[in-house]
Each structure stands twice: as structure tokens, then as C-alpha cells.
């Protein structure tokens, strides 16, 4: 199994380390030529505007969108969730336009509002770290809600797309990554 990790900006090394510990081979996606036929793709945390701009400048946007539309499993964490989503409360941004949800970016506030907690994800107890984290305010009918924190939706699945508002890659817990690897 080979997983591509978008490595334009942000905490991509943490995902690579996590997957390495699970015995999975990873490849960094930094430009067009790096995007081959993967068994899964990770869109990491970082700044969604920075990654969105780089995706376009490096001509990665269309091929990545095509791969995900074609059914390649994808895990998006925090900014990665934002990149996948269709709608935003606070802007007209268009990113990959795939996940049928509405996201409130920085829903939990600025850095002073960042927090860690434990909550259920798909029936398992998981530590969750939110860094200037977003949450989901609305989901389409084909979207399954996997986790909620403070009544707010923080993890969803729609077919091959898994979007989480927190950062499993900043913890020692493998539940989310295992779930993702099981989506094939």
C-alpha cells in the first residue's frame, strides 16, 4: 500500500511518521509529477489558503480533484478538511469542492481558543487536538457524522472522503489513521 501525503505546507511530516509507524509506505506530493496512482491521499493540517494557492500555482489542483472524484480514499485533517469541503460560512472560497458540508473556519476561535479533549470517533474514544480548529455546521444527506465535540460536528465521511477538524497526527492515537486505511 502506498499513500501520498500532500507536502506543500503544514504538518505533513507528522502524518508521514504516523503512517510509517503503521507500516505504510508514503510519498510526499510537492509538485505535479509526484501525483501518481496512490492507494490513498492525506491532506494535512496547515493553512488552507496557503495550500490552496500552492495547489493552483503548482498545477496540482485539477489532477488532485480528479483523483479524489475517481474514488481514491482521502483523509483531510483541519486545513485538509477545509480543502475538501464545498461550502464555508465566512467566505466564497472554492477549493476542491468535493465534500458536501458547510464549514465554519476557525469555529473554535483564535489560538487562545485552541484545546485538547477526548471524544468518540466512529464508536471509539479518541484524543482530539484542535488548533484554531474549524467545525462543520451543515452536512448533505450522503454524509455520515463520525464525531461531535460540544455538540459540533468535527468528523465526517462521504464515500471515499474522510474529513476531521482535529489533528490525530499530533497524538499517539492511531484510530483515525487505521479507519482511513480501512476505507479502501
Amino acid at each position: 500500500m502506498k499513500i501520498g501525503v500532500l507536502a506543500l505546507q503544514g504538518a505533513f511530516l507528522e502524518h508521514i511518521e504516523m503512517l510509517r509507524k503503521l507500516g505504510v509506505e508514503t510519498v510526499e506530493i510537492r509538485q505535479k509529477g509526484d501525483l501518481v496512482d496512490f492507494d490513498g491521499i492525506v491532506l494535512p493540517g496547515g493553512e488552507s489558503t496557503a495550500m490552496g494557492k500552492l495547489l493552483r500555482d503548482l498545477e496540482l489542483f485539477a489532477p488532485l480533484q480528479e483523483a479524489l472524484r475517481g474514488g481514491t480514499p482521502c483523509l483531510g485533517t483541519c486545513a485538509g478538511l477545509i480543502l475538501m469541503s464545498k461550502r464555508f460560512e465566512d467566505s466564497e472560497w472554492r477549493h476542491l469542492d468535493l465534500l458536501d458540508v458547510t464549514v465554519r473556519r476557525h469555529g473554535f476561535g483564535r489560538q487562545i481558543g485552541s484545546f485538547a479533549t477526548t471524544a468518540e470517533f466512529a464508536g471509539e474514544s479518541v484524543p482530539m487536538v484542535f488548533i484554531r480548529g474549524p467545525y462543520i455546521t451543515e452536512v448533505g444527506e450522503n454524509v455520515e457524522v463520525l464525531a461531535k465535540v460540544e455538540e459540533k460536528i468535527v468528523a465526517v465521511r462521504q464515500g471515499n472522503l474522510l474529513g476531521v477538524a482535529f489533528h490525530p497526527e499530533l497524538t499517539e492515537d492511531f484510530v483515525v489513521h487505521r479507519y482511513f486505511l480501512g476505507m479502501r
Binding site: G46, E47, T49, A50, K53, L58, H106, F115, R132, L170
Partner: protein
């Protein structure tokens, strides 16, 4: 816990470019160009040099106007040792405080006790001892000092090489040598032990001070920086939006010389800059 969350935010900034901006309009240009954060300050370092006098924390009104304009994290500078400026920045919910040698120091002995704060701090360092002392005081991110406002990369290179070289030395030392290294570096043994074991700082380490071109940014990345601050280099250049976007790309693909050649082409005039022999004020000598 707070400490971990603050280090975590720095992890999210990695591989990115943090840009100095002095107006909401510049902040928008920076965000659109792909900046992962902006540093809000009234005068960029090149202008601080030109104007002279005491430089202080920026007007909170100006910082707020930038907070309201862009969605990326906002940083702002407090003077070294000026914990009240830091309290004020925390009160307006700044995402990161830079306890910075770019401003006039408020205290020539003590740095801010950063562990008393909820918001994170980034601090400058020109060698490993400085970096680890700032981390001990509670900094959750380190940057090289370089020489701000000069457009001259030589100091940032010197500081990054020094820090990386000193870390490599620690990784090859025996335990008794590490005890002595802690004494020589004037830092706690636990931090020395961490560096010896991991070969890196326990927090994210960016380059800063003198970055003016995509090549400068890529140079710092190849020397081991995890991201780059660009101060005067963008808004003192001929075409800020284009240069900013090119530097962002250079930090992502810092090892691809062909791509660097493409994005370095036709950027317009770089900031004029000032050589280190011509500088009257060495900001990097502030705060050790």
C-alpha cells in the same frame, strides 16, 4: 497542555512563509500570495533602521484592523523583556507574540517569563545557547535572528549554520560531555539531552532576518530551516505580490533548482538592502 497546543500551532506553520505587513491591504496581498501567517507591525525593519529612534509594540488598533481582514494567524512583536506589551497583545487575542530584537529592548537583562502566558511566543536566536534559553523561558517557536531590515542573508546563514552545527556536535557526545555542554551553553541539561537524542530543537525552527529572494528562502530551507520569515524583502521590492508568491513556492520546492529558476525569473527589483559592514545598529546583538 497550553504549552503543547502552542508548539502545535508552530507545527502547522511549517513549510510556510510568514510575512511582515503594516496595513490591511498588505495583509490581503500576503494571504493571497500564500503566506501561512502575517506579522503585523507599524514599520517594517528596513524603515525602523531608516527612521531610527525607539521602536515599540504596534498600535493595537492597527493590529485589530489586520485581524479583521485576513483569516491566517496574526503575529505581533513585543520588546524584549516588556511583559506588559505582551499582556496587551494577549488581551487582543494575538495568535503569536514575537519577543523581538527588531524593537528596542525594554530590559537588558531579563526576557519575558513566557510560561505565564496562554498565547505562544516566538523568539530569535543566533546560537544554540540562545535558542535553548528562550525555550526554557517558554518560547514555543524559534527563528534565527539574522539581521532584520538589511536584505542581506549572510547573518541568517551564519546563525542557522551555528545552531545546526552545535546540534550535530551534541548528537555525537557522551553523557559526561553533555553535562559539560549544558554548563558551557548555560542551559538546563534536559534540553541538551533532548537535542542530543533527537538532533533537533524541541520546537519548530524558522529562518529570519535578511531573506529577499526565492533563492534566499530555499537556501535557508536547505540549511535546515522549517519555514521562513520575510520582513522587508517583500514590501520593499518592486512587485510585492509576485515576489511573495515566488518565495512561498520556493519554500515548498526548495530542492528543485529548475523550478527555482522559473519562479526567480522576472520578479522585478529586489529590495536594495544594506551590507553588514555598512550597518550602524546590530539588532542581532540584542537579547542573549
Amino acid at each position: 497542555m497550553r504549552d503543547e497546543l502552542n508548539k502545535n500551532l508552530a507545527q502547522m506553520l511549517k513549510g510556510g512563509v510568514i510575512m511582515d505587513v503594516s496595513t490591511p491591504e498588505q495583509a490581503v496581498i500576503a494571504e493571497k500570495a500564500g503566506a501561512c501567517a502575517v506579522m503585523a507591525l507599524e514599520r517594517i525593519p528596513a524603515d525602523i533602521r531608516a527612521v531610527g529612534g525607539v521602536s515599540r509594540m504596534s498600535d493595537p488598533k492597527m493590529i485589530r484592523s489586520i485581524q479583521e481582514t485576513v483569516s491566517i494567524p496574526i503575529m505581533a512583536k513585543a520588546r524584549i523583556g516588556h511583559f506588559v506589551e505582551a499582556q496587551i497583545l494577549q488581551a487582543i487575542e494575538i495568535d503569536y507574540i514575537d519577543e523581538s530584537e527588531v524593537l528596542s529592548p525594554a530590559d537588558d537583562v531579563f526576557h519575558i517569563d513566557k510560561k505565564q502566558f496562554k498565547v505562544p511566543f516566538v523568539c530569535g536566536a543566533k546560537d544554540l545557547g540562545e535558542a535553548l534559553r528562550r525555550i526554557q523561558e517558554g518560547a514555543s517557536m524559534i527563528r534565527t535572528k539574522g539581521e532584520p531590515g538589511t536584505g542581506d542573508i549572510v547573518q541568517a546563514v551564519r546563525h542557522m549554520r551555528k545552531i545546526q552545527g552545535e546540534m550535530r556536535m551534541l548528537t555525537s557526545m557522551s553523557k559526561d560531555e553533555l553535562y559539560n555542554a549544558a554548563k558551557v551553553l548555560a542551559v538546563p541539561f534536559e534540553l541538551v539531552e533532548y537535542v542530543a537524542k533527537h538532533g533537533k530543537l524541541p520546537v519548530v525552527n524558522f529562518a529570519a532576518g535578511g531573506v529577499a529572494t526565492p533563492a534566499d528562502a530555499a537556501l535557508m530551507m536547505q540549511l535546515g530551516a522549517e519555514g521562513v520569515f520575510v520582513g522587508s524583502g517583500i514590501f520593499k521590492s518592486g512587485d510585492p505580490a509576485k515576489r511573495a508568491a515566488a518565495i512561498v513556492q520556493a519554500v515548498t520546492n526548495y530542492e528543485d533548482a529548475k523550478l527555482l529558476a522559473d519562479i526567480s525569473a522576472d520578479l522585478g527589483e529586489a529590495m536594495v538592502g544594506i551590507n553588514e559592514q555598512e550597518i550602524e545598529l546590530m539588532m542581532s546583538e540584542r537579547g542573549k
